[in-house]
Amino acid sequence: MESSVTKSLQVFYKNLSLFPDSLYLTFPEETQKLDERVFLRGRFPNQGIPVKKADGTTPTYLLLFHEFTVGLDLHRESFFDYALINQEVSDKKTSENLTIIVSYTLWDNIKQRPLFSSIIEQNQPIKGEITLDNLVNISQATAQALLVDIQRGVGK
């Protein structure tokens, strides 16, 4: 799934490079407020220390993935909206959708400040059994949605 997301992103961003999760986990954990009620919790690079690549160059922007949730019939409000997170969900026998929820931040690595944070939700109707193809498909769709969302965020 990870590779299918990155492949989709690489089509659009030619010189995309990947940093390992272990680097992300060294950052201090913080909360960011997106809205009156919507908060996301994630790790952000330290103030004053730009993230460098292995060859010593400093990338201009970082795309920080905070959470990548895969599940059935999920709603992003149930995860991130503080007014709704305590809602209980009834037991279900069937599900209609395969869902991916991604929370991410576009980070200015030169000035070390967040440019844009967002949470996107991608749904795919389930027809019969869930196969690996389904997962690849929804990952690619999520990557496309991510691209659209970033363009919208940059436009702001």
Binding site: P28, F44, Q47, G48, Q112
Partner: protein
């Protein structure tokens, strides 16, 4: 047409110049409320190798700029400049500060840095850094990792001029006395505005004007018709004498003065004096009244209410205090009667006219609300029902049945009143 347009646009250009030239001298990006301490201790913090302002000169600049600031001291934050976490943040701050930035964007995020800033007590931290031909400055004050003010001034090598410009930009206005260690400890444990204590005692005095009548709204007319239609014949005869409204007109303006208070915003008491004037209802067909000029009664009521109330802080300037009250009162009907000029001797009926009791006891209850503006100025609206009647605390005599009914033994009316009040609180 074209030349006219050109003239217009030139005028615009000229205006633009006038507006923009002074603004470029010193530019404040944002300024949130902060406290300027008397005898201020200012820490000058800079990532630059040569500080743009000198500490001793800056202290003098502060004194020159603000005469109320007392004996300020300033020093360079050497320990901050050597600390690696603080250095990282200062480098970041230098990189990120510009005209469009907001306070929350410049917040320190590293926990060590947050701790350093929030634990600085009442020391003011002035961050200065040179970027090109501008000197950028950021001010931190109080227990916040977010800067309180930021701005820029054109850089010159004259450190005294720089100090004066910074002092003018951030340190003008009223200076507050610095708290002692004990006072600060107390201030720290004080609840914030959202958790404010309710006053121990809340008092008010007021004057009110309103209206009173026997008929309670939304009750059937048939309850009152008999009393209200009744007229007094030959100074004393009515169909019924149980209610005073058989004799007197019930509708009258009502005036009151009152003073009261509540404890802990909940239970309280109120003393009041009320006044209203009621004309006697004469049967005009009775010729005996030809001699009469006027016959009215002034009603005075004095009493005590028990108040139960609750307080709502709605906006910064308005508190709404709805309440309900229950109390007792003494009613006095003072007669004002006069014969026409030229009537030598009053009729026999006049001399044997009706006499009310010297006083009546009664009870009243109702609801109302204080609307208190700016903690002190109140408007009050209340409505209720009051009764007055026979004293029930006398022992019944053996031949009680044969006793005549007490006149006005059951006199009930309702009232509505609007008051202007002054309020105060004792914490």
């Amino acid at each position: 047409m074209k030349s006219l347009f050109l003239k217009g646009s030139l005028k615009c250009l000229f205006l633009f110049f006038v507006v923009f030239i002074p603004a470029s001298a010193s530019d404040v990006f944002f300024k949130n409320p902060y406290i300027i301490w008397k005898d201020a201790e200012v820490l000058i913090w800079t990532p630059d190798s040569i500080p743009a302002v000198k500490a001793t000169e800056f202290a003098l600049s502060l004194k020159r700029n603000n005469s109320g600031i007392g004996e300020p001291t300033a020093r360079l934050a050497g320990d901050w400049q050597r600390d690696s976490v603080a250095f990282l943040y200062s480098a970041w701050l230098k990189e990120n500060i510009d005209e469009k930035v907001h306070a929350e964007n410049l917040r320190a995020r590293a926990p060590e840095m947050v701790k350093r800033l929030t634990e600085s007590g009442d020391i003011m931290i002035l961050f200065v850094t040179r970027k090109g031909d501008q000197l950028y400055s950021v001010l931190f004050e109080g227990e916040s990792a977010e800067p309180k003010a930021a701005g820029s001034i054109p850089y010159t090598a004259d450190s005294i001029a720089m100090g004066d410009a910074l002092a003018e930009m951030f340190f003008g206005g009223h200076a507050e006395r610095r708290l002692t260690a004990e006072e600060r400890k107390k201030a720290d444990s004080r609840p914030n505005a959202y958790y404010e204590e309710i006053a121990k005692f809340h008092g008010w005095v007021g004057v009110g004007a309103g209206f009173t009548q026997a008929k309670v709204p939304f009750t059937p007319d048939s309850w009152y018709n008999r009393k209200l239609r009744s007229r007094v014949k030959s100074y004393r005869n009515t169909q019924d004498s149980l209610s005073i409204w058989n004799f007197l007109d019930d509708k009258s303006p009502l005036f009151s003065v009152y003073a009261g208070g509540t404890w802990y915003g909940f239970i309280g008491a109120e003393l009041f004096l009320r006044y209203s004037q009621h004309d006697a209802k004469l049967d005009e067909s009775d010729t005996v009244y030809k001699e009469l000029d006027h016959w009215t009664y002034n009603r005075y009521e004095i009493g005590l209410n028990i108040h139960l109330s609750t307080t709502y802080h709605t906006t910064s300037f308005l508190d709404i205090i709805p309440y309900t009250f229950l109390g007792f009162n003494y009613s006095f009907f003072s007669e004002d009667i006069g014969l026409k000029d030229g009537v030598k001797e009053a009729s026999n009926a006049y001399n044997t006219r009706i006499k009310f009791e010297s006083f009546y006891k009664g009870a009243l209850f109702g609801v109302g609300s204080h609307f208190v503006f700016y903690d002190h100025y109140g408007v009050d609206l209340r409505a209720g029902i009051a009764s007055r009647g026979r004293s029930l605390d006398r022992e019944p005599s053996p031949d009680g049945v044969a006793e005549p009914t007490v006149i006005g033994g059951s006199t009930i009316d309702c009232f509505i009143s609007l008051g202007l009040e002054y309020h105060w609180s004792l914490k």
